[in-house]
């Protein structure tokens, strides 16, 4: 019997939801383990980094890597797994676009640390302890990986072959990808393994989307009762559907919540946030500055709204006026 293709799963800056989505394959996971050999999956199986280092380069058929890249360790693992894998797949919104962790690209590293270890109301840290990359206690030295200034999507650090979008990806997308890998019928490199059409196309509310929305106000989901059948835009809720790739089965819309954009843009869009801003703003009803600004007050945080999952892949990548501290450059 020929050797089964080897598969690895790894996580970087992520919440663990992507790992769960693998388990969410339910019975299908039996099909997966029957056909592939999992050689590395820290969340579920006991393999170490040295086991991966011992493998020949390119010996892993496919590595599904989720999570954004923030620390030196994550970078190192991304490089290692890139070298050991024939196909590297950015799995989930964080590896694909930076995801929620990339929202930290609005702040300096120092402000992130200050909040996490001092200012956050639930933190008690009287001594003002901060993590150090190196700590000596007598003869012993403890080390931590360096925390970078910028959160990056996986392909901003290593070469990526395919992308599986979603926060988290749906089990169907993963299953389709595994089937494609096993059959060897893979699309051209760089493809996002999901339909290349906006979410509106598969939205059950599509027929109620008005040709001209004409926003007189924007509402946020907690501010009003949401009609479960009417297009979100027609109700004045910011829905990322028009600028977001479909393939999720309109899960959020079926749960009566507007799309927040986790599948990222289609292949024809270069900047998801700019594109949805363009689409939504053009449909505002007023024509004068004061009227327009009044309506736009309903979107208090455009960056957090339009780049919720994609700030690392914004054309600007990050808040541009941050001066990175010298203490960081010195590592």
């Amino acid at each position: 019997m020929p050797e089964k293709p080897k598969v690895a799963f790894y996580w970087c800056a992520s919440c663990g939801g992507c790992e769960e989505s693998v388990v969410d394959l339910a019975e299908d996971i039996l099909m997966v383990v029957e056909n592939v050999e999992i050689v590395f999956w820290p969340v579920a199986m006991d393999f170490k980094k040295k086991d991966v280092e011992a493998m020949p380069d390119g010996s892993i058929a496919a590595c599904f890597l989720n999570g954004a890249i923030r620390t030196e360790e994550q970078e190192e693992m991304a490089h290692l797994l890139r070298r050991k894998s024939k196909v590297l797949i950015a799995y989930g919104a964080c590896a694909h676009l930076g995801g929620i962790p990339a929202l930290a690209n609005q702040f300096s590293r120092e402000r992130v640390m200050e909040w996490a270890y001092d200012k956050c109301p639930t933190v008690t840290n009287a001594k003002g302890t901060r993590p150090q990359v190196e700590f000596k206690d007598g003869a012993r030295t403890a080390t931590l990986p360096a925390f970078r200034n910028v959160v990056r999507a996986l392909d901003q650090v290593v070469d990526v072959d395919y992308y599986i979008p979603g926060c988290a990806p749906t089990p169907k997308l993963l299953k389709d990808a595994v089937v494609a890998l096993l059959s060897g019928k893979l699309p051209p490199k760089g493809t996002t393994l999901a339909p290349d059409i906006a979410l509106c196309d598969e939205c059950p509310r599509k027929s109620s989307k008005p040709t001209d929305v004409g926003f007189a106000e924007f509402r946020r989901p907690h501010m009003a009762e949401i009609d479960p059948n009417l297009c979100m835009l027609a109700q004045g809720f910011v829905c990322m559907g028009p600028a977001t790739r479909g393939g999720c089965g309109a899960l959020c819309l079926n749960g009566n919540m507007p799309c927040t954009g986790c599948f990222g843009p289609t292949s024809r869009v270069r900047d998801q946030g700019a594109k949805i801003l363009s689409s939504i703003c053009s449909s505002i009803a007023p024509k004068d500055e004061a009227g327009i600004d009044g309506v736009l007050e309903g979107i208090p945080d455009p960056v957090g709204t339009f780049y919720r999952y994609g700030l690392a892949r914004c054309l600007l990548r990050r808040r541009v006026d941050i001066k990175d501290g010298a203490e960081v450059a010195a590592k």
Binding site: H79, R148, Q156
Partner: protein, 172 residues
């Protein structure tokens, strides 16, 4: 900031009003600062916010949009669409640390060649005061922190063509 800093402005002008005004400024032999690279579009409503972000990301210090006055749009509604996008985009740019003066929208009709001159001159002065935005340079700076590992890794394997590497090659 070097004293010789000459700001680069990418100007998106609509075919029917502002571009014609720039033409008028030209044939009237008006002198204005040479810092604006004008891109003619059919309508200010065609200015996709992606164009503006891309102009900044590729090294523009300022972006100027010129369209027909309200009620004058050749396509009836285009300039209103532009205005609505611009109002939120500028707020978003502010949140991303791009100064307000770097992105400007002006209504300039076909007969207002002198306004083209005034607006471009004004903007050049303001951008000189602000200094270079130089996003390509900032991108390179940000990526220095990951370059070391990357070189170590690429020495261990075939050369990769990840984003940071391409950027570096493009500027080498």
């Amino acid at each position: 900031m070097p004293e010789t800093f000459e700001p680069r402005i990418v100007a998106f002008f609509c075919n029917w009003c502002t571009y014609t005004a720039a033409d008028l400024a030209g044939v009237s032999r008006m002198r204005h600062a040479p810092n604006a690279r004008i891109i003619r579009l059919m309508c200010s409503g065609r200015v996709d916010p992606q164009f503006i972000l891309e102009a900044f990301a590729r090294g523009a210090d300022g972006v100027l949009i010129g369209g027909c006055h309200p009620n004058d749009c050749h396509y009836i509604e285009g300039n209103y669409k532009c205005l609505r996008r611009f109002r939120l985009l500028r707020r978003m740019l502010d949140d991303m640390g791009v100064e307000e003066k770097r992105c400007r929208l002006e209504w300039i009709s076909a007969s207002e060649g002198d306004k083209v001159k005034r607006v471009i001159n004004e903007m050049v002065e303001q951008l000189k005061a602000l200094g270079p935005l130089d996003l390509p340079g900032r991108f390179r700076d940000w990526d220095k922190e990951v370059a070391e590992l990357e070189h170590a890794a690429s020495a261990a394997s075939a050369p990769c063509d990840c984003h940071a590497h391409k950027e570096e090659a493009a500027h080498a």
